[in-house]
């Protein structure tokens, strides 16, 4: 990647001269490796700025193309999507472009593929169900959903940003992946868009990426995504086992603390291995987040929104989670068992202290 930053990547990948061709060579090499890691065709890979843009392109682009072709305007979307998908679908509905059927989980479980099937209509043009949400960390039954959608001839979009490091994405349908979740610098992602489903561009422009995504391709970042994704896939099972051990260790270490419980049991098969979502009584969520930060623990209470505050989460509401506070703990490639133990000790201290002082409620 350093060589690319210094030399070969200096040209514009879309330019016709030698430096441009060299840069394009790097981008196309990256595309092939990304495709191989996801077991897809290079022609399906569209490089984007990250997961959010990949979701936009897949969701908005697929629905708009279907509407333009007169194939229908009905969308089935889960209620536990990342805001990148949920708000894109909501926007299509608000603008009158699409009609939406929202399908939610039955409690703290994956969405029933039967419920998705029941929501399908002849004019359904897209089903959007995340591969796994990054908040509670529920692994969805993406492979079964892919089978349902393929059998019915409906496009499926799976946001696998949170899933791909530990569980394989479905073999069909569109995907969104993000580089920085796998260790690249922030600013690169990819949409996997099957060639048999029409997609319209979302942002006008010269369309460097398959006529769908405009903007000069980031040569070095493309290479970073390819490398990170290859590594993630090659070590997926080992990494998943390690994540499961570490989050299990955290759950066990917090077991003695009253009024703290994992939202999804540590041993549950539908728990995303890298995530442990906790519910806590007797402390205010926002006060807890502040106190943990002050104690040097970087945990989140929800998905980060524009202003950086932890807003009430539609996904939590969909799962029926109602606690004084929630805590989203995740582990990564660099996390060690010692760090997990330190984090558990600090969480115990912070929660105990905060409770003794009234919990920090407003």
């Amino acid at each position: 990647m350093l060589a690319v930053l210094h030399g070969a990547g200096g040209g514009n990948p879309s330019a016709g001269h030698e430096p441009g061709r060299q840069a394009r060579g790097v981008v196309e090499d990256a595309r092939e490796r990304i495709a191989a890691a996801l077991d897809r065709s290079p022609h399906e890979v569209v490089l984007t700025s990250g997961g959010t843009e990949a979701d936009q392109l897949a969701v908005v682009g697929t629905v708009r193309a279907a509407v333009e072709e007169g194939r229908g305007r009905h969308v089935v979307c889960s209620t536990v999507e990342h805001p990148a998908v949920r708000d894109a679908v909501g926007w299509l509905a608000d603008e009158g472009v699409a009609e939406v059927t929202w399908v939610g989980p039955d409690g703290l479980a994956p969405i029933d593929p039967g419920a998705v099937t029941a929501a399908l209509r002849t004019e359904t043009v897209l089903v959007a169900v995340t591969g796994a949400d990054g908040e509670v960390g529920v692994l969805q039954r993406s492979h079964e959903l892919a089978d349902v959608c393929r059998a019915r001839g409906v496009a499926l979009h799976s946001d696998v940003v949170q899933r791909v490091a530990t569980v394989a994405p479905p073999a069909t349908g569109s995907l969104a992946v993000s580089g920085h979740k796998l260790g690249t610098p922030v600013g690169i992602g990819a949409a996997v868009l099957p060639r048999d489903v029409a997609v319209a561009p979302v942002v006008p422009g010269p369309g460097q990426e398959r006529g769908l995504r405009s903007g000069t391709q980031p040569t070095a970042l493309s290479l970073a995504l390819a490398t990170a994704l290859e590594l993630a896939v090659a070590e997926r099972e080992e990494h998943a086992a390690r994540c499961r051990d570490l989050t299990g260790l955290l759950a066990a270490a917090l077991d003695d603390l009253d009024g703290v419980r994992p939202t999804i049991a540590a041993e549950a098969p539908h728990r995303l291995a890298s995530h442990l979502h906790l519910q806590l009584d007797g402390v205010d969520g926002e006060a807890l987040a502040t106190a943990l930060d002050q104690a040097g623990v970087a945990a989140a209470t929800g998905t980060a929104c524009a202003t950086g505050s932890a807003a009430a989460s539609p996904a939590l509401a969909a799962y029926g989670v109602d606690a004084d506070a929630v805590l989203r703990c995740s582990v990564g490639r660099e996390t060690t068992a010692e760090e997990v133990e330190v984090a558990a000790d600090r969480i115990t201290d912070v929660v105990s202290t905060l409770r003794a002082r009234g919990g920090g409620f407003l």
Partner: protein, 372 residues
């Protein structure tokens, strides 16, 4: 007395960063003094990110607050207080207007949200004090009791809106810019490269950025039509709700009258707006309650004091007398005109400097009103 700037040491201070220049400089001064400072931006209302100039609730303000914390090198959090703010400030604001009163939402916000709830949470998080960008001076007297004084910059003085905090809360409140003029605050911000140095002051009620209070209330309250009557009961016109009016108001009455008419009284039970000449607004006595006493009531009773009934109104000389049950009666030598129930009455000492007491106005003299 000890001033804020001299309170050096290592207090753990939470500073409420509104996104304005005053709180930014307050934080800077605390950092300079060696304190352990954490910044927090309070999200109080849902505002449209595309609308400019929204007091302290807009997205730009949150960004400016965050940038201030970055430049000063202090931790920063955003706390979502929208529910609390709606429950404690916005709903009572509308309810007060519907009841014919004229609330001061900034005082309510300080009392219940900014200082009340946030100070409570800050204490739970182990902070010794909460700091704000208010222009007022909080000092510790020789007896150890905290005292609230007017700001060094009299034109920017905000001691009026802090009167609801008694000595115990004041002891945990820091207002470092109270010793500075606004010009000095802006200079300090510029010296530190804070981009809020030239940011315009906010004036309006933060959740009514366009200043149209009646328009805002029309979204919150049902129409309640009634009559506009003169002091003798003569019907002069009609209106859509007493909440569209405030005592002392002259404009927007839609009356054709040979001499200026002012709103003199609002009767929400009869949905009646009573108007009269300016003389009918002359107020020499006011009833206040509940009263927050900054000084010992017994020592203040009957002494020469200064009385202020609006955030930037001219004080009058007068006296305050406790009347039991946490209430008091305030008399002034020179009348106020247009004192409304719901406004705050703040009593300063004989030098018009130190806050002695204050509270909500529950009644005021209406000399020509026949029904009182």
């Amino acid at each position: 007395m000890t001033t804020d700037a001299a309170r050096t040491g290592t207090e753990r201070v939470l500073v409420a960063l509104s996104g304005g220049v005053d709180s930014a400089v307050a934080a800077a001064l605390l950092v300079d003094a060696g304190h352990d400072v954490t910044g927090v931006h309070l999200r109080l209302a849902d505002t449209d990110p595309q609308v400019l100039g929204q007091g302290c609730c807009g997205l730009d303000d949150a960004q400016d607050a965050r940038r201030t914390a970055q430049v000063l090198g202090i931790p920063f959090h955003v706390w979502d207080l929208r529910d609390v703010f709606r429950r404690e400030v916005r709903e009572p604001f509308a309810a007060d207007y519907a009841a014919g009163a004229t609330p001061n939402p900034c005082v309510t916000c300080n009392e219940r949200v900014k200082v009340g709830a946030v100070l409570r949470r800050a204490t739970a998080l182990g902070h010794d004090a909460l700091a704000t960008g208010h222009h007022a001076r909080i000092e510790v007297g020789d007896d150890g009791r905290s005292v609230l004084r007017r700001a060094a910059d009299r034109a920017k003085d905000q001691s009026y809106v802090l009167h609801v905090h008694g000595p115990d809360e004041l002891a945990r409140l820091r207002t470092p810019v109270g010793d500075l003029t606004k010009a000095e605050v802006r200079d300090l911000a510029a010296e530190r490269g804070l981009r809020v140095a030239t940011k315009p002051d906010s004036h309006d009620i933060c959740f009514i950025p366009d200043g149209d209070t009646a328009g805002h209330l029309a979204d919150e309250l049902p129409a309640a039509p009634g009559e506009v009557v003169d002091l003798d009961g003569t019907v002069l016109g009609e209106h859509e709700g007493v909440w569209r009016f405030t005592v002392g108001q002259r404009r927007g009455l839609g009356l054709q009258h040979h001499e200026p008419r002012f709103v003199v009284d609002l009767d929400p039970d009869e949905q009646r707006v009573v108007v009269g000449p300016r003389a009918a607004l002359a107020t020499r006595w006011i009833e206040v309650g509940p009263v927050v006493w900054q000084a010992e009531a017994a020592q203040v009773a009957g002494q020469a004091v200064h009385v202020q009934v609006r955030a930037h109104g001219r004080p009058r000389r007068g006296r305050i007398t406790p009347t039991g049950d946490g209430t008091a009666r305030v008399e002034v030598d020179e009348p106020f005109h247009g004192v409304a129930v719901g406004q705050r009455c703040v009593v300063y000492d004989d030098r018009d400097d130190v806050v002695l007491a204050g509270g909500r106005i529950t009644a005021a003299e209406r000399p020509l009103l026949p029904t009182v």
